[in-house]
Amino acid sequence: MTMKNRKRVTLYLCVAVLFVAGIVGFGYYKSQTAKKKAEEIKKNIITGVNDLPGKKIGVQLGTTGDIYAGDYEKDGSGTVIERFNKGADAVQALKVGKIDCVIIDEEPAKAYVEKNEELRILNEEFTKEEYAICIDKSNAALRQQINTALNELKEERVLKQIKDYYTGADDVKGKNPYIPQKDVVRKNGTLSVATNAEFKPYEYFDQGEIVGIDIDIMQAICDKLGMALEVQNMDFDAIITAVSSGKADVGAAGMTVTEDRLKSIDFTDSYTTSTQVIIVRDEMAVQKDRSFQESFYDNFIKDNRYEYLLKGLGNTLVITLFAVMLGIALGLLIALVRTGYDRAGKLPLLNFICKVYLTVMRGTPAVVQLMIIYYVILTAVQNKIVVAIIGFGLNSAAYVAEVIRSGIMSVDNGQFEAGRSLGLSYQQTMKSVIIPQAIKNILPALGNEFIVLIKETSISGYIGLMDLTKGGDIIRSITYEAYLPLYAVALIYLVIVLLLTAGVNRLERKLRGNER
């Protein structure tokens, strides 16, 4: 026993050492290759719009930049458009030299460049555009109300006040915030607003809260309409789907009115004009290396940013735990139907349905299933954690069912006959004799399913749910550093998986103890 324990401790130490070695080694490798890369990068310098053909252009998926830059892709010049889920990811890719420039809205671009000295915005603008609030076509009455409210806010100079607070000249910036009116009676229900809080200064996370120009404008509109504001964070390209499927009433995310978008959704009047600009690396800037401590402080300590990880971890654990329970319950039912059919030809129709279910769930990606469940099937359910639990639970059930079935099949048929010959019914024999033994046989496989599932939940971000991975992403989008947040997330997953593995091994030994 002690021998075994010592072996295990050694194993964990080895894993930890390898992990740290990986981080250090990677850091060294990075510093070495950075010099080489810098030389390569100089060949692809962009000084204006005319230099764009043939280059690698980064955009945020579904943004105006994406739509306009897409034209270059088709002109045969070999231009490559890299589409990122978030603007910050595109900026990171630009920093490490994976792409040559990023086309993005002016205001977020300013925020990025301010934080990254080695980047600059080209003087030549890419294009100008108008932002508006998107709303479902069937909701003309609300659209009219919002337009009226926007008009009033324009006349009362509230819109200017809000923009000045975030992006104005130094004498007004940060001075006069919009304060939600307290004496409004919010009797007209809730206005649910879909946004993508990675688009500073229009919408972004600040100390755990989503804030920004769009959010303040929506708050002001709610104040006018006597409604309560509810903000939902999701990927930018998910906003239109969310609004048209009724998950949200409107979308406010620095969204430009385009012909393509008008096919599926309506827009209110424009509330601001924005410019698309081109960010490039500043060849003149000297790359400044930050120390590990500085970086650590910036990523985790400052503004309590570690809370994104903690909260995300909490969600990840809750989703996994309940999804596993749902998966085992449903999986057991399916396994019983399947073995009942295999053994005695019972319930052929139900068995067929189960077989179809298994085929579909195991034959399609979990992320697609999750999105179908969120956007198509459970449109009425607002609680994303519940949706995620159902989604992952249904997916896991398909795998658990086959694991349990193989467990039942692995119990010697003599056990079944002994139970039946004592007078126990089929159900009694299964429940008292077969299933307890089957569970014991499959415990390692079930534990493994738990481990797979906990990693699988990292796709929760696709429905805008902040799990551990997404928590790391949010930090990444604030600090523009990929290295520490990603490693921290990986390390947390690894520790959880190691703990779970140890727990499963322990339980397995305890259960087996009786039989050896």
């Binding site: 002994a418 004592l422 007078g423 008292s432």
Partner: protein
């Protein structure tokens, strides 16, 4: 003396796919009889025994137990099996339960006894075979002979009217055969009706009241032990006996 008929088998046929195992078996087993079934391997003797409590469903024919045709689908077979104990070659104790739990399971689940009553009965039976000290052990901690004796009293705990034994000593080391046969001998002496598929000719000769010799799916000879061993009528039985004795 006319004895009460317990089991009546009529025109029993059983096929596995194209393979015909039982080809028309007719016999009756009366209360208090100890019937040994012998025959070459693959002759169908185990299939016949397993048909008696419907672990094998007959292809055609009937098995009547205490006046009820148990091949009728409307019969609650679980109720019937409560009265027909069965012992297997491989013991088939439940490895995830203690010995006491093994014995208590069926009486409690079938509503025949309370938990306390079943535990008491289990201890009583264990005391009888001098294994009370193993009540809280698990099957894996016992020898083969101990396991088989416990399998026998597990079946007895349901107070069956008949006990079916399917080669109960074939999986045992030779030195453990004796203790199992001894327990069976005791049961026979107490008047338990028993049907035993066996290769133990000594046991058959000494304990059985009747021997069935099954060959190629039919009962070839049906006689008292002395008569059967002394004067085998068919060539096949003579060949069989000459090989094993």
């Amino acid at each position: 003396m006319e004895r009460e008929v317990l089991i009546e088998v009529k025109d029993l046929y059983k096929s596995f796919g194209q393979h015909k195992v039982l080809k028309g078996i007719n016999t009756t087993i009366s209360k208090g009889e100890v019937v040994a079934i012998i025959g070459p391997s693959g002759c169908g003797k185990s299939t016949f025994l397993r048909s008696l409590n419907l672990l094998e469903e007959p292809t055609s024919g009937t098995v009547t137990f205490e006046g009820t045709d148990i091949t009728d689908e409307s019969v609650d077979i679980n109720k019937m099996r409560e009265k027909m104990g069965m012992v297997f070659q491989q013991f088939n104790l439940f490895p995830n339960m203690t010995i006491r739990e093994n014995i208590m399971l069926a009486p409690v689940k079938r509503g025949k006894m309370t938990k306390e009553g079943a535990a008491e009965r289990a201890d009583e039976l264990l005391a009888r075979i001098s294994l009370l000290d193993k009540a809280d052990a698990y099957p894996a901690q016992l020898s083969g002979g101990q396991k088989q004796r416990i399998a026998i009293i597990r079946a007895l705990a349901m107070n069956p009217d008949v006990m079916l034994f399917d080669e109960p000593t074939s999986a045992l080391d030779p030195e453990m055969v004796g203790e199992v046969l001894e327990l069976m001998r005791e049961l026979a002496a107490e008047g338990m009706t028993m049907v035993v598929v066996t290769h133990e000719m000594g046991f058959a000769k000494e304990v059985a009241s009747r021997i069935l010799f099954i060959n190629e799916g039919v009962i070839q000879e049906d006689n008292e032990p002395k008569e059967l061993f002394a004067n085998p009528r068919s060539q096949r039985l003579r060949d069989f006996l000459s090989k094993i004795l």
